[in-house]
Amino acid sequence: MNASSLTIPGPLFFLLASLALAALAYLVHRWNVLSGLIATIGSLGLGWIALTWLLDKSISLGGRSVILTSDFVFLGRSWALTPTAATLIAFGFLVGGLCFLLALPASQGWAFHPFGLAVLGILSMSATAEQFIYMVLFFWLGAVLTGFVLAGGRPGATMGALRLIVVCTLAAMPLLLVPTFFQDDAPPGGTQTGVVLGILGLGMLLMLPPFHGALVGAAAFSAPMPPVLVLSILPATALHIFFRFTQTYPAILQDGLILEICQWLGLGAVILGGLSAPAQRRWGSLIGYAVLIDWGIGLMALGQGSPERMALAVQMLLGRTAALLLCGAGLTPLFEAAGKRDDLERYAGMLFARPLNVLSLLLGLLTLAGLPTLPGVTGRWALLGDLAANHPVQVWIIVGAEIGVAVGAIVGLLACLGQAQPALVAKRRDELIASLFALFALWTACMLLSSASIWQPLLTTRP
């Protein structure tokens, strides 16, 4: 190690850097664009550092070599920057950076940038924690702080944030007790109790019905971009915890009950989403139910139990993130133009005033619906092939649910075709900026999907 090099514990670096950026973003939160730029550049930079560490493990800043050590020990507890953790951190910060960037055209609430960054930093500690308890504790802390991200943007709409906090709290509590019941000195019947607590906690963590309300509520009761961030990074961390949990306590997979639950309740989520999506009259709710269907299909893939199908669940997560980014990029300028409301009737004439934004939103929704030729279908194809051989009814249910989302999207499109309100006269400059953002989102979606090899380490944690 030469004199010009600087050695920092990797896990601590990502936490401290994101908290410092969060403090900076908060200081200038009254200037939305400045705060957004700090959050965007900072978050993308940290994502790039995580990727660089993954590729060659040495970073140069200002001519000085920075070495991120993989281990960090505090009070006897250890955090390690493994390839899996670095991949998850890179994913979180890059998606966060894109969310901050795409949110620039309109304010998403004062808390979006500072607390978004803080949540990313805290979840990076969850990703790197070696002890399972600390992984869950940091996830819980991050999930609680998402309350600020979700509820900071729309006065009166606190339901989504409250639901998410309650469900994550309910999920964390049984998971935190599990290690005690798997210890050697556990009380009689401890393993059984541990398995029951684990299944209960994982079920809630994966937001299986009837806890799906948190997933839908997060999208329905918030400004457009915060749910994109929250519904991308929290499920990714939840899947990471699921894989680590099943690795640490393989007893939970022995009778396959948790996988069966994932499969059947995933199907339940698909049915619920498919029935509810066409009836929605708000963009936020429609996106929420579309996410629920996609999430349900991902859980069905997870429930198949084979490593290949679990990898599909991760692939669907990437596709969903791309779709959500498209939805957020399209809806943000439309939401601003519609007077910060997402009721469909307020979007009359938007198709002619802001065609690219409407197109971006519809493409995002149809990607979530898994329309062939769009990225959302890539993860599902193999699963549908499997199900067609063994459970053809389930294939029809999935297709029916996808049609439900498509119907909801068409209803939204018809609303956008209506007579424009006088107040909704498009400004050409805004239109151009918003269109560039939409194109950027499309490019991002393509990049995310085409570079799946980057995310390969995430799959290595599967049991």
Partner: protein, 223 residues
């Protein structure tokens, strides 16, 4: 630390009875002031119980966290109440001018969807559930006189969460639920790092709840 040493040797029964009362008040009583006072007393009583499982310094941290959370929620609730009362008074004066008669002043907080009698009956029912559970299915690893406190706080927290979607009562319920869990968690995983993180989570919960109470009452444009 002498007083803490003496408190640590106290019998758990009176403290547990106190916790049963405070959690019941949070679940039943509509006025947020009573709920908040009950939450504060609850944190102090829980601190006394924590003394039996944790070093005095860590138990004191838990008491301090509780003592910090309650003012956060108080200021939010107080601000919201004064805003609502102000708006209600303006509305009342407007109606009085138009209709030549003075209507009754509206309540500053929305009434909960269930009546006090209903909530009291549910609490009594859950009391019977607690009694039968403590006999037939005792919690492992925790002292027999402390177990009912964990279960009762958890039940009351869940009941409050089920009965309301309003951030203030739901927040008090959530904090009660977490307090019950924490009592059990400290038996299984005592340690400075765990206690510190739980304190951070509690403080974050207090801050978020205070924020949600305020945001829920706001109207108008995006902040």
């Amino acid at each position: 630390m002498t007083i803490f040493a003496q408190l640590a040797h106290l019998s758990g029964i009176p403290v547990v009875i106190g916790l049963v009362i405070t959690a019941s008040i949070i679940a039943i009583v509509r006025d947020w002031r009573f709920g908040l006072w009950a939450l504060l007393v609850q944190y102090m009583l829980l601190g006394v119980l924590h003394l039996r499982m944790l070093p005095p310094e860590l138990a004191l941290i838990k008491m301090l966290v509780g003592a910090l959370i309650c003012p956060m929620i108080y200021w939010s609730a107080r601000w919201v109440e004064s805003e609502r009362a102000h708006k209600a008074e303006i509305e009342r004066q407007k109606i009085a001018r138009e209709q030549k008669q003075v209507p009754l002043p509206p309540l500053p907080w929305p009434i909960r969807p269930t009546s006090g009698i209903f909530r009291l009956l549910v609490v009594l029912l859950l009391g019977m559930v607690l009694y039968s559970m403590s006999i037939s299915w005792p919690l492992p690893l925790i002292a027999a006189d402390l177990a009912p406190a964990c279960v009762w706080l958890g039940l009351m927290g869940l009941l409050t969460l089920v009965l309301t979607a309003s951030p203030l009562p739901a927040g008090l319920g959530l904090l009660t639920l977490v307090s019950g869990f924490e009592l059990y968690f400290d038996v299984t995983q005592p340690g400075l790092a765990g206690t510190g993180l739980m304190a951070a989570i509690n403080l974050a919960l207090g801050l978020v709840i205070a924020h949600l109470i305020t945001v829920d009452a706001l109207t108008g444009e995006v902040l």
